[in-house]
Amino acid sequence: MTFLTGKSLPRRTVLRGLGASLSLPLLDAMLPAFASRAHAATTRAHRFLAFYVPNGMAMEYWTPKGEGRDFQLSPILEPLAPFRNQMLVLSGINASWNYIHAGASGSFLTGTTRGGRNEVEILADVSMDQLLARHFANETQVASLELSMDAPANAGACTGILSCAYTHTISWRSATQPLPMEYNPRAVFERLFGDSGSTGRAEREARLHQQKSLLDSVNAKLAKLRQELGVQDQAKVEQYTEAVRDIERRIQRAEQQSNVELPTLEQPQGVPPVFEDHLALMFDLQLLAFQSDLTRVITFMIGKEQSARPYPQIGVPEAHHPLSHHNDVAEIIARLSQINRYHTELFSKQLAKLRATPDGDGSLLDHMTIMYGSGISNSTRHSGQNLPLMLIGGGAGRLDGGRHLKYTDKPSIANLLVTLMDKLDVPVEKIGGSTGKLPLDSLAGV
């Protein structure tokens, strides 16, 4: 017990530590219950991924030349050439809330027009991924995953005088509840696959068998208990029984599916020290989560907003955030573009895997909508105008790719979010400060 003697350790520190260590799996090793496989077979599951890159973009190296179907890939987009026909580059869209770096990530998926006024006031709007998560909550085991390459900030102000919450997440469960993003692959693994230690079939099956017999014997005892209690007192035993039945049903589904071979992934130990190794794990976990239909909604920050990560491995040893404050010096912008291009190179490899993974009548990528980009364009000016944004994936047949769309009426990113909800068949009236929808399929002049 961590009471008086053990109190040397601040209570929240203990909780954080143990939380990380012991995991909160949905059910140990109870693997892909594939809650909605049957459903997925009839109507194609449509997945959403938001891929956030920090510190804006070297726009000179991002914006493609030409519009409509006739556009040339820019240096940053060039690594994505194999996916050109499933790519929609969007220009001219503005951030809904522009406040140094906090507004960039804070409004990316929330479309919010507001933020807090000091370090302790944390305020935005519910984010698009969470609206989707609510919708899918009953169909998948994990409503949504929020992932990052950076450790969460436990307190403090990160940008101006505003809370670190804004720069460390893009996902908001409610206007006042930013969701911490998980950066530890081990924790993500446990959240998805429990603590059997492996996605291997034998391990999964052994654990399922044990759990089934545990529940069987509990059930017998509950039945007896119900008999011993008066009618009035039975309600809670009913709750218990219902919970047992619920889990038994899931185990049954999982057993039916346990012959599905997943790529075997051993449980990661923790956060690998090398960026690329860490990223590879985070990518693999995303792929597995989508592939097994454990979730349909993932948000991912390859760097927290205002990230200072240097990239010496590609010859850019300067810290990313200070570098992005390039004061319009051409040579520095060129160096910044190297980081931006490195990100699309890494992203491209993941897209290739998504395309190589069969799903229904096509590939996983065919049944995805990915929103890639940043909530700020020119970091030197902290500009929220003309954001670097693109959509990638087949959108389950709902996205007409291979185009570069330029909007001239400065629409808010909030309008894009509402439009995407339509495409994902979860229509909503409004997100954040949205004022309408965005013409994606029929933009005049394209």
Binding site: S8, T13, G19, D28, A151, N154, D195, V244, I247
Partner: protein
């Protein structure tokens, strides 16, 4: 003529919940003093109550004209409400004639006495729900008691439902959902695997972060050496003998620059206090540093030279790792700096929050520990080692395979008896042995069999639920609980855990029916350190909202001296204070008027107590009794009843009313705008007292707030983080004087204390009520009040000591009996 359209809020007692009607108040009557002092309940009701509370008007649904005030025991539910009003002196409403304070008390006592006599002849014990689920705290304690395992499972289980100011062990509130069962399955596995010493399925890395607002300029823990600074001591359970990696990450500021890298400092890693390795960090940055700010023109960007950047962001804390090879079981991993006895010259920048750490502090300030990671086991030894948990579980070892069932039976029967809190049946043991066999087969050894059977114990309804089975023979409307049920009740009350073998032996031998034996057992259990721990952590922490201290947010511009270390100190002070009061079995009254408290240097500075150095908490006699002394001047209480940018006499008054005086106040009536008028810019801001004057002018506010607000005003000398002040937010001198509805004048802490202790029974009664709800696991009802009063009356002879209140509760009908199904 004045019309009150809503009088819902008139009823501070909160007992009367419905009916909104209109009342006419004749202006001329408003301030007239009563001609005669009523000498009987009947006279009082006739003179002060019946004008509104009669059959015709039925104000707030209450008609007293048809009831007999001489025989309140015929309608105790109604009359207990009336007693509540009289004790609070909150009726008649402000502006109406009212009795004097002595009359309030005498008449209330008269009514109480009659009700209590009726109750003594025919007590109604109430009925707790038949199914009472363990909460997270109890589960954690049971894991400790069954398996000698310190594992906080609270973060792994769903939160327990609790109402504000209530307790998380109320049976009716604790539900069971699929999410609960999922977690129970998961936790049962993790707990039993750890306890039996089975190796983890794979090595894991755990991270322990230190929040950025925790100061690291002093010795952080009793488990770190003298002369150390900063860092953390981590109690860690190494699952098996083997090699583990301890890795340290230093703290970074908001741009990810390591802090305090301007000069070399020594960083130690320790295992159980013994130095494992000493590192030197800092002092090696080469090249031009980053600009102090990136505002304005000049150099493009603001980054330093690449080699400086690389050191400050990447390499400065690389390689701070060491391998350790501990035995299996609990150890303490310590990480701390060696304290320097010199300080850099110059004027230090005052500590800041927000962006934290001004730029000049970044470089030449202290380096801090950001996080410690413990990874492993690598190269597990493969041999099972003796640990406290294994000693507790494996009370026998099979000599051969044929011996295994016998030994498993011994182990499982012993643990299941305590887990189920009763003797186990043969059939149950047989059932557990089937799981032993399955685990034995899957895991290929004896220990794995025991592990799976224990996992089964922890998901059993008889473990997770306390079940009260109606006694079929009972024909009366109430029956006495079985000795085993009483034993469980007692241990969950005092220990928040299962009974020990001694208590179970007594219960099985039907010894608890004798009051003397019961009382002896209470004393034995109170003397166990678990009792103080559980009652402070479970009861007091919820009664006094200590669990909310860590959630306090503060406007950093207004209160720059606030930091997380201060909040931790607030919590600790109150815990230590209550713990010593309990352990030494003092009078609960001392909680309000003690002349001592517990502080460390950080808190002493905050309280203005000189001469206290170091991070260790100690008991001090208070040099400033007009400012400090008793719970009401604790930072924990004052900070949790404030807003981020100002004090709140309303929140403080409400806290005092509900939690100290024991008089619940109803929420504001629906539809009333509870926002105070905005402070206008560019004019001298009004004091909070001036702003709250709105409460007096609006009649629907006044009836409650004229009781609540004055109590809060008395604490105006304490700012939003509990520091003493002489001028308030508006810049004007603090005015801590107030007059209560009944005309008593109070000024500051001393005045408030005087008021709260004016009636000696009042505060002990509140403590008893709260404690009893916690002990029973249900809300108190009107029919419990006679029992509370009896306990408090009896405890007067022993100065309201904890043992007297607790023994009184344990021996009371509501604790020992259960009402029949209605």
């Amino acid at each position: 003529m004045r019309r009150l359209t809503s009088i819902l809020a008139l009823f501070v007692g909160g007992w009367i919940a419905t009916a909104v009607s209109s009342v006419e108040i004749r202006a001329g009557q408003a301030q007239r003093t009563p001609a005669t002092t009523p000498s009987s309940p009947q006279a009082l009701v006739d003179q002060y109550c019946i004008t509104c509370h009669n059959q015709r008007l039925r104000t707030a649904g209450l008609a007293l004209d048809t009831l007999d005030p001489a025989h309140p025991s015929a309608n105790p539910e109604v009359w207990e409400r009336v007693i509540g009003k009289l004790r609070a002196q909150s009726m008649p409403p402000p502006g109406r004639p009212r009795p004097d304070a002595a009359t309030y008390r005498t008449i209330a006592t008269t009514i109480e006495r009659e009700i209590d006599q009726g109750w003594a002849a025919h007590p109604k014990p109430g009925r707790i729900g038949a199914v009472h689920r363990l909460n997270r705290t109890e589960y954690t304690n049971v894991v400790h008691d069954l398996f000698a395992l310190d594992l906080d499972v609270r973060p792994l289980l769903p939160g327990d439902e609790t109402a504000d100011g209530s307790f998380d062990n109320l049976a009716d509130a604790l539900s069971i959902s699929t999410a609960h069962l999922e977690r129970y399955l998961s936790v049962a596995r993790q707990v039993t695997r750890t306890a039996t010493g089975l190796p983890p399925t794979s090595p894991r890395i755990e991270t322990f972060d230190i929040p950025i607002h925790v100061l690291q300029d002093d010795r952080q823990s009793e488990d770190l050496p003298f002369g150390s600074r900063g860092g953390i001591a981590i109690p860690y359970n190494f699952p098996v003998q083997g090699e583990y990696l301890v890795k340290v990450r230093l703290q970074r500021q908001y741009q990810d620059y390591l802090k305090g890298m301007g000069w070399p400092q020594q960083l130690d890693v320790r295992l159980d206090g013994k130095l494992v390795k000493r590192f030197t960090v800092g002092g090696d940055a080469k090249g031009r540093p980053a600009a102090l700010s990136y505002a304005g023109d000049g150099e493009p960007g603001f980054a330093g030279d690449p080699e400086w950047e690389k050191y400050m962001q990447l390499t400065g804390d690389v390689g701070l790792e060491v391998r350790v090879t501990p035995d299996a079981g609990p150890h303490v991993v310590g990480v701390s700096f060696v304290r320097e006895l010199w300080e850099p010259e110059g004027l230090p920048h005052p500590p800041q929050r927000g962006r934290t750490i001004a730029n000049d502090n970044v470089y030449m300030g202290y380096a801090n520990v950001g996080a410690v990671q413990i990874g492993g086991p690598y190269k597990a030894a493969g041999t099972v080692q003796d640990t406290p948990s294994r000693r507790a579980i494996f009370v026998c070892q099979p000599r051969s395979q044929s011996d295994e069932h016998a030994c498993a039976t011994t182990i499982l029967s012993k643990i299941a008896r305590r887990a189920y809190r009763r003797p186990v049946t043969k059939a149950e043991v047989q059932g557990l042995l089937e799981f032993f066999d399955q685990g034995r087969q899957d895991g290929h050894n004896f220990d794995a069999g025991v592990q799976l059977a224990l996992e089964r114990v922890l998901v059993d309804p008889d473990f997770l639920l306390r079940v009260y089975r109606d006694q079929s023979a009972a024909k009366a409307d109430a029956y006495r609980l079985s000795d085993l049920e009483v034993a469980s009740r007692l241990s969950f009350f005092l220990w928040s855990s299962v009974p020990d073998d001694h208590l179970l032996d007594l219960a099985e031998g039907k010894q608890l029916a004798r009051p003397a034996a019961l009382e002896r057992e209470v004393r034995r259990m109170l003397a166990d350190p678990r009792a103080t721990r559980a009652l402070v952590d479970g009861f007091a922490a919820q009664w006094l909202n200590l669990r909310r201290v860590s959630e306090v947010v503060v406007d950093p511009d207004r209160y720059p001296t606030y930091d997380e270390s201060l909040l931790q100190a607030f919590e600790r002070e109150t815990e230590l204070f209550i713990a010593s009061n309990l352990r030494e079995d003092r009078s609960v009254v001392e909680l309000l008027n003690a002349n001592y408290t517990f502080v460390n240097e950080r808190l002493a500075r905050h309280y203005g107590i000189p001469g206290i150095y170091g991070s260790r908490f100690r008991r001090v006699a208070l040099p400033n009794p007009e400012q400090r002394g008793g719970l009401l001047a604790h930072g924990s209480v004052l900070a949790t009843t404030s807003y981020p940018d100002r004090t709140s006499p309303v929140l403080r008054g409400k806290f005092l009313l509900n939690n100290i005086l024991g008089l619940p106040s109803p929420p504001p009536p629906p539809g009333v705008d509870t926002n105070l008028a905005e402070v206008k810019p560019n004019v001298t801001p009004p004091t909070i007292r001036e702003r709250l004057a709105q409460h007096r002018t609006n009649p629907s506010c006044a009836s409650c707030h004229s009781v609540i607000d004055p109590l809060g005003f008395a604490l105006e000398h304490y700012d939003a983080i509990g520091a003493w002040r002489t001028s308030d937010e508006s810049g004007r001198p603090v005015d801590a004087a107030a007059s209560t509805l009944s005309g008593a004048q109070i000024d500051g802490l001393a005045g408030l204390r005087g008021l709260l202790l004016a009636e000696p029974e009042q505060f002990p009664r509140t403590v008893t009520e709260k404690l009893m709800a916690y002990a029973l696991g249900r809300r108190l009802e009107y029919y419990d009040r006679p029992a509370v009063r009896a306990i408090v009356r009896d405890a007067a002879a022993s100065d309201y000591r904890w043992s007297a209140l607790i023994a009184g509760i344990v021996k009371s009908p509501p604790f020992l009996m259960r009402g029949d199904e209605q």
